[in-house]
Structure formats: C-alpha cells, structure tokens
Subunit: 111 residues, 4 copies
C-alpha cells in the first residue's frame, strides 16, 4: 500500500536535495502538471473508445499517470494542502451531492 504522505515526503526530499525548491512555485508546478496530463492525452487521443492499450503503450500510460501523481503531490505540498484529507472530504461531499438513486446512469453535465 502506498500512502500519499510518504510520497509527499519523498518528493519534498527529492526536490530539496537538488535545490529545486526555487523552481517549485504554484504556477510552475501547475504548468508541469498540465504538461504531464498532456502526455496522457497524447497516449489515448486516437484510441477507439473503450480500448485499454497493452504492451509498451500501457507501460507508458502508467509512467505518465505516475508523473501526474508526483507533480500533484508536490503541488499540494507547496500549497499547504493535505491532499489525502482533501480527497476524502470531496468524495464524502460527492456522495451526498449525487445520491446513488437519483443519479443512477445519468452523467452529470459537470461534477
């Protein structure tokens, strides 16, 4: 099991050891996050809908999703946000906001 707190600490140490803290402001990290999400998009853009790639493409997809998580964890740390707590709180709110009965099979236009 991987704990977000552990990833957060390791990314912080990785950054400090290279003196990269100076580059890691909110705007630069959000751009880095955008770049990684863009790489995920490039991997899936021409796939037929419903297809999950395999082989080398699947490997690259895992790598890019990992990059998204690493920058996200770093961004939350710089922002002073407890990412795990924020996610649990948001999930709890979503469970209230979209009751399973009412929203069954209905895609909300914007969640």
């Amino acid at each position: 099991v991987t704990e977000l707190d552990d990833l957060t600490t390791r990314m912080r140490e990785f950054t400090q050891a290279r003196d990269w803290v100076r580059f890691h402001d909110l705007k630069s990290l959000t751009l880095a996050l955008t770049g990684e999400v863009g790489e995920v998009a490039e991997l899936v853009q021409w796939l037929p809908v419903g297809v999950v790639p395999d082989g080398e493409l699947w490997q690259r997809l895992g790598d890019e999703l990992a990059d998204v998580l690493l920058y996200l964890v770093r961004l939350a740390d710089v922002a002073g946000v407890d990412l795990g707590q924020a996610a649990l709180a948001k999930l709890a709110r979503n469970e209230e906001r979209f009751p399973a009965g009412t929203y069954r099979s209905v895609a909300p236009e914007r969640r």
Copy 2:
C-alpha cells in the same frame, strides 16, 4: 494517513453505485482530468509568482487538487495501473536519472 488503494476502492464503489462505469472510459476520464487541471490553472493564473493564496481561494485550490486526484485514481483503476507502485517506480528512476550532485540548482528542461 490516506492510502491510494483505499481511494481507488472508494471511487470504484462510488462509480458502480451510480452505474457510471459506462461513462468511465480512458478518453472521457482523461478529459475529466483535463477539466480539473484547468480549474487549478484558473485559480493560480493571475497570482504573483511565489504567492500561495489563503482564505476562500486556498479552500477552492484544495478542492480542485482533490478533484484532480479523484479522477486520476479512477483513470489509473480503469487503465489497470497500480498508481502507487507506478509513482514509486518512477520516483526511483528519477533519483537515478537526476543525480543530486549533477543537477543541483539546474532545472532540467524537460523531466
């Protein structure tokens, strides 16, 4: 502490309970991830560099980062990727690829 596996399971159950699995293909979820990263970008775009917002803006930033994580966890689940393991593996590779001595204070053009 928040475990990624736990978030993954809860998001999967949330999706199944609403019969939303049908909407959660890789392409749609990557678009949803893009949308949430876009919301983070909108919150920080006009901030002076180095500023971390407080008050309501900080709260909203935490909410949007949470949304990014929730869709990311869901996307990895649909892709069959163990997100925590992928992140740890990528971090280990980055530690080798960017030795602290060589890269001290030097922003790699593209990581």
Copy 3:
C-alpha cells in the same frame, strides 16, 4: 473572413487599455489557455463519441473555443510569434511528413 493579425491587434489593445500587460507573461497566459481548454474538455467529456451537441451546450462550446483562440493569439503575440505564419509552415511540414498515400486511414500515434 477573420484575420489572425486583426484579432492579435484587438487583443493587444484590449489588454493595454486595461493595463493588464503586466499580467500577461508567457506562464500566466499558458495557464489561462489551460483553463480554457479545460472548459472545452468539461463540455465534451461525457458526450457519446461522435455526437456534436446542439442548443445551449453548442453555444457554450463556441464560446469556450473562442476563449481558447483569444488567449492563444495573445500568448503568441507576447512570445513574438507570428501565429498565422507558424501554422501555415507547420501545415506544410505535416503535408510532407505524412504523405497522403502512406498514412491513409492510419492514425499516427503521435503527430
């Protein structure tokens, strides 16, 4: 017909008249562009593939695509890039790089 040069000039004047030039550095404008692309993504994310929305959703899609163009034009202006010339040059290169015969019906993995 709408000329890119005309949009560029009008966006520049719009920005100067509000003294917003100070906010329009490359990084902030790229974040703004990310935000607008995120809004487009939110509008199409749950659509069935191949569907073009109508009514109010179509109107909003047009608005968001317009926002993407306006920030793109502004970003190119700040970067000192002639966007129209760059696009024509890139299109000419793509026509050489992807000969119609060879690439017929084949989605390049990454263009």
Copy 4:
C-alpha cells in the same frame, strides 16, 4: 495575413486526403488540443517569469503554438463553429463586461 477560414479549409482537406475524418470526433480532438497545450506548458514551465525564450526554444514554442491553432481550427470545424466570428463576438462581450476604467490594473479572478 492569414485567414482562419483558409486554415480551416486546408486542415479539412489535409484530414480528408488521409481519411482521418474518422478519428476527428470532438473528444479525440479535444484530447489532441490538450496534448499540444501540454507541450507549450512544458516549454515555459521552468522559465523565470517575464522571460521570452530565444533560439531553438523560441522556435519550438512557435511550432507548438501552431499545433494548438491547427487542432483548434479543426475542432471548431467539426463542431460546426465559426471560430473567427465566435472570437469577435466574445471579444466584443469582454469589452462590455470589463470596462477599461473599472478594471484598470485589476486582474479579474476569472474572466
């Protein structure tokens, strides 16, 4: 001068000549747009604020901005949106919505 209508027509012909129309649904094109914006983000993410790159990096920035425009034009065409008209209309609305006097030097939190 480059006209958007001309770019639109040329991209449509480029796509038809390769029988790529089948790949160009709204969702796939929005993902492609996301990928290109991600490439722009990667080029500017570690730049000091206010710096415009030169040399090879500037050249690549122009190329990526061109890619964003080409996909944007294609996306608007598939959506049946007149991109130039939509941009002019949006700009006119913004001029009304943000009077130069009131908004002088004030970054709107979200435009």
